[in-house]
């Protein structure tokens, strides 16, 4: 039996106004285990806390019940008080007689009666409390960044800058991501390559950073501070450490008609390829679906021309196992497919393109060497129609498109329109918009310049149909301000396709037990207060995998994620929440029900030896809870058929004692 002290707070008149605090203190005196009971005006004040500390010493208290405001308010305070008095902080229970009693009941008699019952429940519970000590686990001081776009690059650089080792896993042959495909960046119009490629080089040269390109994460085990990750390095059939990136093989490769992903299929590459000139690592990769040598065993030209001897047709996929303390997800985004939007004739005409394709068309390293030419006939387009919100802001249950605003399209469309008018003043540029959304530093100014200085024609309305006819694209659209239907003969139509999370994100989320929303964006631990952490401890979010973002926002989030990682890796040990589940192995059946419902993968199974009644030993499968991973929800305790699983701090018997005290 505990020696319980009861402290009833007046909270000025907040409680004392509707609850007879003295009567409560008096009534609780006779509860089992209670050896001291008193009341005071402000229990949370220094004087009130001192009163508790003194009482602990004078009455040898082992448990404390404070009848006061909500535990969400002052539980932490009183736990500290208990600790200061030499008690285990978890020997404190709060009876909420303010928010859930004095403030919601008007009658003194009723309020007092209820406060006494709530006090009794707290006393009944504290009698069954046991001292709890948070568990500790070591931290592997290395981080993994999944995704090598600008988000992953920035996160990795920041973490490495703090002195920790970082690995980047990128599924493509080079890091750089979407930003490497962009031409200029809004709102400053500096060239994307000029600001990105130096960072890529920094990554390559940083001793703390390793790049696993053309690789993917295939398995994640463990928990915060102690992740075990399997990385699959896909065979690129080129020895990475030997290849100098000279490009001789590219020139000689006979398979020259492979659609070039980097230019979105608008030109061709060879079967052995380097995605672009500034690729990091600058190493060739053989596309096994295109290479004659790999498919039919004939050719081998690249091997002959490679003076370094880097070609290896026998290379196999390689699996690497690594340990990390923290994982950052930076898997990015892709434009959605335009398949379902053929009212814009995307499948029917080469001159209907997406905005990302437009970036490549205007990029000096793109398929047309930076000249804005129509993909169909290579002619200069004189009339260009930009359509915004293609697939964004659709009804939730719509069969095509996404419910959310893709956020970046308004700005890049303004950029495209402005750059077109700047370079080719003879071009008519129309932008059809629903709303122009420019909340960002210098964003609206940028958009207004497009209209006012560059003469881009912004039309409030939407395009309804694009009809390719002859060499024109007949655009039928509405102008809601003029209340007219417009018919424009355009040469080029550019669709601002909605963006969506990369397809690799969903299986990754499963591996990480990190949650996602219905759109497959990763969910943050708190939408406002913990925006770069996933609810799964040790997993952090960087960039567009969490929601649509432009470059400045991505970079700030990347830095924020890095600082969270650094904060974690700087610790030698992690202290957990002690209110976690634990299984009594003598009672555990090993049936897996608990592991089935655990949202965190905190439960594993071990074969353990047990002494049987007949003195033999038998091996049995039993559950083990990892206290560093368990968050204390209690789902397992109810799934457990034998009652072996219980939750510290909210044990079966404790809750039943509360029930009994209330119903008595």
């Amino acid at each position: 039996m505990q020696r319980v002290g009861v402290f009833v707070c007046w909270c000025g008149s907040n409680i004392a106004g509707t609850v007879d605090v003295q009567a409560v203190a008096e009534a609780l005196k006779s509860e089992p285990g209670v050896v001291f009971s008193t009341d005071y005006q402000y229990m949370c004040s220094q004087a009130g806390q001192d009163m508790i500390k003194t009482a602990v010493k004078e009455h040898n208290l082992t448990g404390i019940v404070v009848c006061s405001c909500s535990p969400r308010m002052h539980e932490a305070t009183f736990r500290k008080t208990a600790a200061a008095a030499g008690l285990n902080p978890y020997m404190v229970e709060i009876a909420n007689i303010r928010e859930q009693c004095s403030w919601v009941h008007k009658d003194m008699a009723t309020g007092t009666e209820k406060a006494i019952i709530l006090g009794k429940a707290a006393v009944a519970k504290v009698n069954l409390n046991a001292p709890l000590t948070p568990g500790e686990s070591p931290v592997t001081k290395r981080a993994l960044v999944i995704g090598g776009g600008i988000a992953g690059i920035q996160t990795a650089l920041d973490i490495a800058d703090a002195g920790f080792e970082v690995d980047i896993v990128e599924k493509n042959p080079t890091i750089g991501g979407k930003m490497a495909q962009l031409d200029k960046t809004f709102p400053t119009l500096d060239c994307a390559a000029c600001i990105l490629t130096p960072k890529m080089v920094d990554v390559a040269q940083n001793e703390k950073i390793r790049i696993f390109s053309y690789s993917e994460v295939t398995d994640v085990k463990g928990f915060v501070g102690n992740f075990d990750v399997t990385i699959k390095k896909n065979a690129r059939y080129v020895k990475e450490e030997i290849c100098t990136g000279c490009g001789a093989c590219l020139e000689k490769c006979p398979m020259k008609k492979i659609p070039n992903e980097f230019n979105l299929g608008m030109d061709n590459r060879t079967a052995i390829y380097i995605p672009f000139a500034q690729a990091v690592p600058k190493v060739a990769t053989i596309d096994p679906t295109a290479c004659t040598m790999l498919k039919k065993g004939k050719c081998g030209i690249c091997s002959k021309v490679c003076t370094a001897g880097a070609i290896d047709y026998t290379q196999k996929d390689e699996y690497i196992e690594e340990k990390y303390g923290a994982i950052v997800v930076a898997t990015g985004f892709n434009p959605i497919s335009m398949d379902k939007f053929d009212e814009f004739a995307y499948s029917q005409s080469k001159d209907v393109i997406t905005s990302l394709e437009f970036e490549r068309l205007t990029n000096a390293a793109g398929p047309s060497a930076g000249k804005l030419l129509r993909p169909s006939d290579g002619k200069h387009p004189h009339t260009i129609v930009f359509v915004q919100c293609v697939g964004s802001r659709c009804e939730a249950c719509a069969e095509k498109g996404k419910e959310y605003c893709s956020k970046i399209c308004c700005m890049y469309t303004a950029k495209h329109a402005m750059l077109t008018r700047d370079k080719y003043p003879d071009t008519e540029v129309y932008v059809f918009y629903i709303d122009v959304r420019t909340p960002g530093k210098n964003f609206d100014e940028f958009y207004r310049r497009a209209v006012e200085e560059f003469g881009v024609k912004y039309i409030k309305g939407m395009v309804g149909k694009v009809t390719p006819e002859g060499d024109k694209l007949k655009v039928q659209a509405s102008d809601l301000i003029a209340n007219k239907q417009l018919h424009i003969d355009a040469d080029l139509v550019v669709l601002a396709a909605a963006i969506e999370p990369d397809k690799s994100a969903r299986p990754l989320a499963t591996m990480l037990t990190a949650s996602m929303d219905t759109n497959d964006f990763f969910t943050e631990a708190h939408p406002k207060l913990r925006p770069v952490e996933s609810p799964t401890a040790g997993v952090f979010l960087s960039g567009a995998c969490q929601g649509p973002k432009d470059i400045p926002e991505t970079v700030s989030q990347a830095g924020a994620a890095a600082s969270k990682v650094i904060g974690l890796l700087a610790k030698d040990k992690l202290t957990g929440n002690p209110c976690v589940a634990s299984s009594d192995e003598l009672m555990c059946n090993g049936c897996s029900s608990c592991a089935n419902v655990c949202p965190y993968g905190a439960i594993t199974y071990a074969e353990k030896e047990f002494r049987m009644p007949d003195r033999t030993t038998k091996v049995r499968r039993v559950a083990e809870v990892n206290p560093a991973v368990c968050q204390g929800c209690g789902a397992c305790t109810v799934a457990c058929p034998s009652g072996a699983m219980d939750l510290k701090g909210f044990a079966n018997l404790q809750i039943m004692a509360e029930v009994d005290a209330i119903c008595k």
């Binding site: 398949d339 053929d342 009212e343 029917q348 149909k465 009809t467 006819e469 002859g470």
Partner: protein
Amino acid sequence: MKVSYFPGCTLKNKAKDLDLYSYKSASALGVTLEEIENWQCCGGVFTSADDEVATKLSSVRALKYAFERNEPLVTVCSACHNVIKQTNYAMQTNKTFADKVNRYMAEDSYNGEAEVYHYLEMLRDLVGFDTLKEKVVNSLKGKKIAAYYGCLLLRPNKVMRMDDPENPTIMEDFIRALGADAVVYAKRNECCGGYISVESPDSARRNSNAVVKNAKAAGAEMIITACPLCKYNLEKNGADIPVVYFTELLAEALGVKEDTNA
């Protein structure tokens, strides 16, 4: 295979060809079209208002007939198909509406259980375009044919579910199965004007012209359609390439066009 067949008003009058060639082709493909007894006109257009009941009863009767015989209900005319399919969807999804309708029905109630196929869907899903290809005797090789869907076959897609409403391929696949070249053009799913030729003949003319012009620009030598009203509008407004029913083309390819026995 036996199916319940709803011909519709026009097929018994101005569009007798559409009806005749449907029968001939079906029998060549081993499908028996059982004309629904005492079918009544579908009404031509579907009234989307939920409180319109009486105008939809004829469709429900046809649906119920097919359901009770455990046969798919096959239609040819785009308008009939649209009205019947939309009515069936309303019977499935709108309980209040279905209750009202069922109060008009004798005996058992009906709740949208029947399966409705357009003749083209029957060819694709029940017969199979591959099977169709094998049965072709007069290949239409070299002919450049444009499919004209109009609006009623495809929309509203939520209900019709025939094909991608913006990039349909069923009629193109049909054309290719007959050996001809399918001409794809953007206006194939735009409206010809429909019944507006009563109210604003100019509007119908503009719409129809735009369709024909777009098809021709894409290289079409012939347009096929499933809808008598589409055919009428396109032809009346001066189409200078032939506009024919798809079943006529089918009968020709199957070699049963002149067959007098069917």
